[in-house]
């Protein structure tokens, strides 16, 4: 069952100052997230994944396209209804420092979404806040403290508590562990796995770290230059990466095993500027398999197997 369905969504920002330029942050992105599933979104900086996170929650409304949450197009909701929906869809941000208001105590940070959802009873607010803090592994005396009194990992737990206190159905996790040390990352990832199982959450897990995304997600979407280029079940993407960019990405990831050092395949070039992306397939300037067609014609989404597609002309033979 589709929980979250995004269709042909674009976010084209206008950059002013001198000549008006268009930043193709997201271009025609379509995907679904099913109930009780985590869709991982992976890509390098500038591919549009953070814009995607914000757009999907309408923190930044898309310039075109549809976003269906449980079959309701949220881009067309009046603001009152959208506000009511916010307790069902939440987000955990990357930076544990800037995502928490330094002048608010933890209890106020975590109970704020409940107040936003209309809860006023002080006793219930306190109980639910305490319960949520305990669930993320923080003790009750965290309630009266300020964010700066906590470590990065603990702050991230506070951010998670804030996102989950309203018992949402869907959460977006935008690089939730990228700012954390490896040993703390492990704690937070395992916590997230437990919570999403206990609370039956659907989620979108965004990260540039492929190992982490694959560990946390049943399905993966690969983004490049504002577009999704391949989507499929995690194991299939790993065993049969079909888009040349996915192959490049997987080949570039350092393996935690010195006996399996990468063969020195030369990876050329860098991601294109979102202001003037290449014509045709945006990956063509860097693609080892580039054909003439790739320079002019944008590839369609081509099925590799029932749940797995990639947009590459190589697959349409």
């Amino acid at each position: 069952m589709k929980h979250y369905s995004v269709g042909g969504t674009s976010y084209l920002a206008k950059r002013l100052g001198g000549k008006e330029k268009i930043v193709h942050a997201l271009d025609g992105v379509s995907f679904d997230v099913n109930k009780d599933e985590t869709l991982g979104v992976v890509g390098e900086s500038g591919c549009g994944k953070t814009t995607l996170a914000r757009t999907v929650l309408l923190l930044t409304p898309p310039t075109s396209g549809t976003i269906l949450f449980e079959d309701c197009d949220i881009t067309k909701l009046p603001s009152r209804d959208l506000r009511a929906l916010r307790s069902k869809i939440q987000i955990v941000f990357q930076d544990p420092i800037s995502s928490l208001d330094p002048r608010m105590r933890v209890r106020d940070i975590v109970s704020e979404p409940l107040i936003g959802a209309g809860l006023r009873d002080q006793k219930v607010l306190r109980e639910r806040t305490e319960a949520m803090l305990e669930r993320v592994g923080l003790s009750r005396d965290a309630m009266n403290r300020f964010p700066h009194q906590f470590s990065g990992g603990q702050r991230q737990r506070i951010g998670i508590a804030r996102a989950l206190v309203c018992e949402p159905e869907f959460i977006v996790l935008d690089e939730p562990t990228s700012a954390l040390d490896a040993s703390i990352q492990a704690q937070v990832l395992n916590l997230l796995r437990k919570l999403r199982k206990d609370m039956r959450l659907s989620s979108m897990f965004i990260s540039h770290n492929i190992n982490v995304v694959c560990y946390m997600s049943e399905r993966i979407a690969v983004m490049y230059a504002g577009e999704m280029v391949e989507v499929g079940p995690t194991r299939e993407i790993l065993s049969n990466p079909s888009h040349p960019y996915t192959q490049t990405l997987l080949a570039a990831v350092p393996k935690v095993d010195p006996t399996r050092r990468r063969a020195d395949t030369e990876i050329i070039g860098e991601q294109p500027s979102p202001v003037s992306p290449p014509s045709g397939c945006r990956f063509h300037p860097r693609c080892p398999f580039v054909m003439d067609k790739c320079r002019t014609v944008k590839p369609d989404q081509i099925a590799v197997s029932p749940n797995h597609w990639a947009s590459c002309h190589l697959l349409s033979k």
Partner: protein, 331 residues
Amino acid sequence: MATPLLSLENVRLEFGTEQGIVHALRGVDLTVGTNEVVGLVGESGCGKTVLGLSVLDLNPVPPANLLPGSRILFQGRDLAKLPRNEFALVRGTGISMIFQEPASSLNPVFTVGDQIAESIRLRIQRQQNSQPSAPLSQTVNQEVLEALKLVRIADPERVARRYPHELSGGMKQRAMIAMAMAAKPSLLIADEPTTALDVTIQAQILRLMRDLMKEVRTSILFITHDLGVIAEIADRVAVMYTGRIVEEANVEELFKEPLHPYTQGLLASLPKLSELDKEIQQLPGSVPDAINPPEGCSFHPRCKFAMDHCRTKTPELKTIKPGHKVACHLY
């Protein structure tokens, strides 16, 4: 035995802060030989960056304070005992350093070419003990272009005229490497050089560094928190925890048979593509406060094998197998 290129002996360094004294380095012994990459790995706060900066005396004094008994030897010479002008020559010529964020390490108001030229000019001046003369500018410009070609920049004349903000992250990092390698130093200290880069760019830069190592015969002290990168590039690895080295081994040995519980915990906590079914093991607790690190073995509060004397006696770094040292009472 040949003199190691770099030898750190009992290096202890503190920082005076308002909250108390931060014991950043608590007795580090480490060597780097010719033609090798030594990886220095650890999480934030373990002291790895401070150690890298100490070699070139780049920690601001005060608040930093290198304690007596610490020795840093480069090609057999004690750097602390060198006269200032000779030490100035070591920087950039014998030992060079590159940093994590190329955007903040490059001066935004000078072109890349000017910045590389600056270090070349300084070196020539110091070597010749003289002021630059007219024909020198040509030599300098030539060396700038050669440095840029060394880092595989395709259009060095054009890139030399660019300002840092006009270059991508990967290009900026190449420019920084060009600056560091212009004098073909014997040792390059690289502090998290690829952490801020995308993974495909990281792969390019790591490959470049490996090639340069062979071409220029430069050893590298590669500092990072990323064990994957270490596995890619290092020959030998030293693991740091709260200002001490807790394990040291050649790279294959470390990954195959890590001895220290911290190293084991760190490796087990990484998600691996080849083992997606298993839940990753998490290390309990968090990295201790550097002002008041736990007594005895600082890892004991998080260690599942902790014994009584781990709480009181600091274990020494001992050789357990040929080429493999560990500081742990289990051995």
